[in-house]
Symmetry: C2
Subunit: 336 residues, 2 copies
Amino acid sequence: MADDDEITAKRPTIYDLAQIAGTSASAVSSVLNGTWKKRRISARLAERISRIAEEQGYAVNLPARMLRRERSRVIGMIIPKYDNRYFGAIAERFETMARERGLFPVITCTQREPALEVEAAREMMSYQVECLIVTGATDPDRIAELCSAARVRAINLDLPGGRAPSVVSDNFAGALELTRVILSRVRADFGTPAPLYFIGGRAQDNNTRERLRGFTAAHHEAGLAVPEGNCLMRGYSAAKTLSAMAELGIADGSGVFVNSTIALEGVVRWLHDQPIPPELRFGCFDWDPFAVFLPQNVGMMQQDVAAMLSTAFQLIESPPEGVPTIRIPCRFRPRP
Amino acid sequence: MADDDEITAKRPTIYDLAQIAGTSASAVSSVLNGTWKKRRISARLAERISRIAEEQGYAVNLPARMLRRERSRVIGMIIPKYDNRYFGAIAERFETMARERGLFPVITCTQREPALEVEAAREMMSYQVECLIVTGATDPDRIAELCSAARVRAINLDLPGGRAPSVVSDNFAGALELTRVILSRVRADFGTPAPLYFIGGRAQDNNTRERLRGFTAAHHEAGLAVPEGNCLMRGYSAAKTLSAMAELGIADGSGVFVNSTIALEGVVRWLHDQPIPPELRFGCFDWDPFAVFLPQNVGMMQQDVAAMLSTAFQLIESPPEGVPTIRIPCRFRPRP
DNA sequence: AATCTACGCTCCACCGATTGAGCATCCAAG
DNA sequence: CTTGGATGCTCAATCGGTGGAGCGTAGATT
C-alpha cells in the first residue's frame, strides 16, 4: 500500500513478518499458503498476518517453496519460434490453460536448432518441471528420453514421436482437402487440370510426409500423377523457399500447395519479385489473418490450437496406456 | 548415456553423486558449477565427478541453487500478447539476448488485462527476478512501484512510464513519415489532397497520442487540417475496428493511417466485406510480412526490435541517472 | 629438526518455506 | 479431582546447493 522505504533493505521473508506480528514463521507460512484452518490458526491471527504481509509487500519466495514441496507445479513448453501466428497462438493458449489449472507455465524457444532443443529440455529439468510439452521438435524422442530418465511426463505437440504421447493435426485429411480446393479452383479459373506444386517443409519431417500423402491422394482422385520435380522441400525458411521457386519455372495457370506460412513468405516474395508475376492459385497449410486476404490465395488450412492443447492437457491429467498419437481435425478457411 | 532404469527412483542430487564418487557433496557442487579450481579440487576428481554426473543424467536443481545464491540470474518480461509479429519478435529477441548474457529469461503474457499485469508482476517477484522488462503495459508505473519496493530494476519497453527508464519507438517521427507517404500516394493516385483517416489505438495511450501528433504535423505541412471525426480510436481489437469502420463512410480515393496491425485486421476485413470495396490507400504503424503485400497498402512502419532490446539491456547493465525515455527510430518498409 | 606453504579435500551453517510432532491451555464429562 | 478432547500455537527437521572455515599431508625453506 503505502511507501515504506528505507525500512526494508531486502524483500521480507516469513521470518520478518513473524517478528513484526509477534508470532512464528510457521504460523505465517500456513496463513499465506492457505493451510491455516487445517493447522488451527485463529481467524484473528490469520487476519493480522495477512494485513502485515500486504503492508510489507510480501511475495513468497518461489524457489524456496519449490525446494521444500515435493510437487513444483511448474509445466514447461519448448517451442521452435514465437514469430508466427501458429506458434504464437500455441504459446498463448498454453499459458492460459496452465494458469487455469494452477500451474506455472515456463516457455522457451529453440529457434528450430536441434542442439538448443536438448539444452532447453535440460533447462526445463533444472526448473523441476512436472511435465513438458515438446512442440515441433526435430528430435522429440531424444527429449522424451531425457524426460523419462528424470521422471518427467512428456507430450509431443505438432510433431509426433515414438516415446511419448503425441497430439498432432490431421495432416493427411487437411492436405487432402486443401489440395482438392486448389485443384478445383485452378480448373475453374484456368481450365487446365495440371498437377500442383508442393513447396516448403522437410521431406524427413513427419508432418510434411503426411501432407504430401494427402496431396498425392487428392491428385490420384483427380486422375493426376504428381511429377517428382513438382515437390520442393528445402526446410522452414523464407529465403530458401524464395531461391527454390526460381528453379521451378512456374507458369501462368499453375497451382501451388504451400506447406507453411514461413514458406508462404518466400512464395509471396518471389511472386512480387517477378517482372510479370504469373497468374496462379495457391493454398497454404497454416492460417494467417493477413495472408488469407492475398489475391491469388484460395484459402488456408487452420490448425485447431485450442483443441490440440485441450487434448494435450487431458493426456497430462490422465496419462494414457501406451504411446498414442491423437489426430485433431483442421479447419479450412477460404479466402473471404 | 545408456538407460539406467530402476536404479534411480528420483532424479539424482549432488549427495547421490558424492556417494557414488566416494567424495563430498561440496566437491561435487564445486565441480558442477565450475568453481572447482578456486576450491582446489584436483583435475582427476573433477573429471571423475563430471563423468558420473553425465552417466546419472544429473541436472542441477535450480530452485535450490537460486535459494542459496544471492543473485538469481533470472530476468523477467511481461508482454501483452504473443500472437502478433511485433510482440513475437520482442519475446524471441529478449530470450536470445538474455541467454547470451547468462541469464534465465521468464516471459509471461497478460492478454492486455490490467489486473493480469499486476498479478504477473507479483509472480515475477516470486521468481526472484533481478530485473523486469515491462512491455506495452497499460499502467507501467503501478508495476514500477511494485518493483522498486522489491528492489527489482524495471525497464519499460514500447510504452513509456514515469517511474522507470523507458525505451520506445520514435512514434512521432515514424508517424510523420508514414503520413507523408500515404498523403503523397493518395495525391499521386487519386489527385485529391484530402485529410486521411486515423484508425486504431486508444486516445489515452502515449504511443497513440504521439503518432496522432506526427499525423497532424504531416497534415499541417501539407496545408491540411484534420477533422475530429476522421480519428477513430476504439482500442486494440480487430472486431471493434471493423464495426467502427462502418461509421466513417469511407469513399473512393481516401487514405487511412492504421495505428496497429491488430487494427489493420479490422480494416482489411471491413474492406473485403464491402459489396464494392472502395479504392483507397493505407499505411500501417507496425510491420507484418504478409500485410505488407496487400494491394492497397503503401507500406508499413517497422519498429526496430533489436535496437530497442539492445538499449533495454544496456539500461539494465548500466543504470542511468534519473528516469530517461529513449526513443528508437523506426524504419519505413514500402510495399515491394 | 622445526616451520611454512600449497594442496586437496571435508564440515557445516545457511538460504526461505513447509509440515509432522508436540506443548500449553481451557472446558466438559465422568 | 481426573481424564479427554478440542483449540491455538511453536519447534525443529528438511528440501538441494553453496561457500567460508578448517584439517591433514607432503614437500620446501630456514
